[in-house]
Amino acid sequence: MNFLEQYNYWIVIILMMSGFYIVIAHGNLIKKMIGLTVFQTSVFILYISMSKVTAGTAPILNEAYKVYSNPLPHVLILTAIVVGIATTALGLALVVRIKEAYGSVEEDLIQEKDLQQEGSE
């Protein structure tokens, strides 16, 4: 099989992993959320790419076209996007609260404060 046929997926994977890396490695909560979004969005691309048919067109029925790309992944991703934004919103809400409660959005600072609290208990 011809590896070049997969180039598209590989790009996606690179994107995905960069997002993933941000999530794990960054200490800033907001950065983490961003990373998460990037991660998810790249997964969306993965789905969409698989629906593409060469010389196909958007799946809106029309006499002019014969070949349409697969509508199913589109639907799935529509849903996934919504889920994504929902998660982001929730996550950010948490960040706001954390900022209020701890006065910081840096992971290590927060954990420090927790340790102190446990010590005091």
Binding site: V23, L29, K32, V43, T79, A86, L90, L94, A101, Q117
Partner: protein, 492 residues
Amino acid sequence: MIEHLPILQVIIPLLAAPICLILREARLVRWFTFIASALAFVNSILLLQQVQTQGTISYSLGGWDAPIGIEYRIDLLNAYLLILVTSISTLALLAAGPSLRKELSERKETYFYVAYLLCLTGLLGILATGDAFNVFVFLEISSLASYTMIAMGRDRRALWASYQYLIMGTIGATFILIGIGLMYMMTGTLNMYDLAERLPEVQQTKTVFTAFAFFVVGVCLKLALFPLHLWLPNAYAYAPSIATVFLAATATKVAIYVLLRFIFSVYGFEFSFSHLPLQEILVALGLMGVFAASIVAIYQDNVKRLFAYSSVAQIGYMILGLGVGSKTGLTATLLHLFNHALMKGAIFLALAGLIYRVGSVNLKAFSGLGKQMPWTMAAIVVGGLSLIGVPLTVGFVSKWYLVLALLESNWWPIAVLVLIGSLLAVIYVWRIVEVAYFRKAMQDSAPYKEAPLMILIPTWILVLANIYFGIDTGFTVGLSEQIAASLFEVAK
């Protein structure tokens, strides 16, 4: 209406949620929620009967048959877990009233109940559906709802815990999404049973392996298998008591269900166990989980956190049973699913009552409670004995099957380790017992009253269940064995 049971199971709580938001008035909402959950419970029982009489039920949503449309498919396994989830949630709600009024601000209660219902919806949806992507959607519903519930904890650490859970949970979900995507890519279908038919053709492809790997990792994140459990302890420790009860008893179980479903019904036993070192991995991780978590649990002073760690350990047992890869092993896992829900349900409910009176779950606060809150403490002790696996409690039944399974496949050493593991449970349970019964109460504090009846009743229903199902094991064992058998049927 009888043919609509599968969908009713999910949409009863689902539709109840927005209605609750409209009702707003907290007390109203509370009863409404309770009724919804109770209905769901009744529904699940009917469903089980239906399955037992007429076998697997398939319900195609929107009238589009699978794989075109989304299908709900209920067999014994789902029915069994549906009952588990709905029953626990109903009992938890029974106690919710006083506990929440103590722990949440009046205005937040409504939101809590809505979130609770949504979480319930999500879990039930996961259990009922026969469509891979639908699993993802409802997984997210339940997850988002549980992040919300956890974040409502009084301690600010609840926020941090919830955030961590959100990050790890979402990563898990995304992994699952990738897994599903790859499966879809190779088969062109999302329906589990259609997948099961079409996967064998492409079984050998690397893509399918990857799909499997990602899916399993994702699920393991959700069910807090040992190295991926980091989100769980704090989440359980700082969430509002009722949320802890509900999540601890059900959420991880549902994740395990998903794992079972895909390992056995979708990929098939053959693929899952013979093509991959899955067995070894599961057993290893399971054992490590049991020990690591139990040992950490021993050093916890926050009792809620202590039992949270013990949950991780118990999950280890379930995975172990699965890892054995024999009928008996699977039976043990299924039994432990149910039994562990009973134990932890009882314990965390008791703790809810304790928080209601004492306000703290720090071990120090326990001194002398054996006298002051005899019923609550007794509940914790029975739950603890069950965790240890003392005869005549449910814990013993599942341990027995697990050890038996290990011996059957000639894994003596592991069997020994399992038993040693349960001795670790003795240690952390006894730390509590000693403080509660053999240490004088602190002088400065006035003696605490026994927990309110509304909390005690459900607690003791669960405690008695712990004992009852430990003695009359017909229902659980029978069902589990049936299910295990059927799963292996499918797998063959």
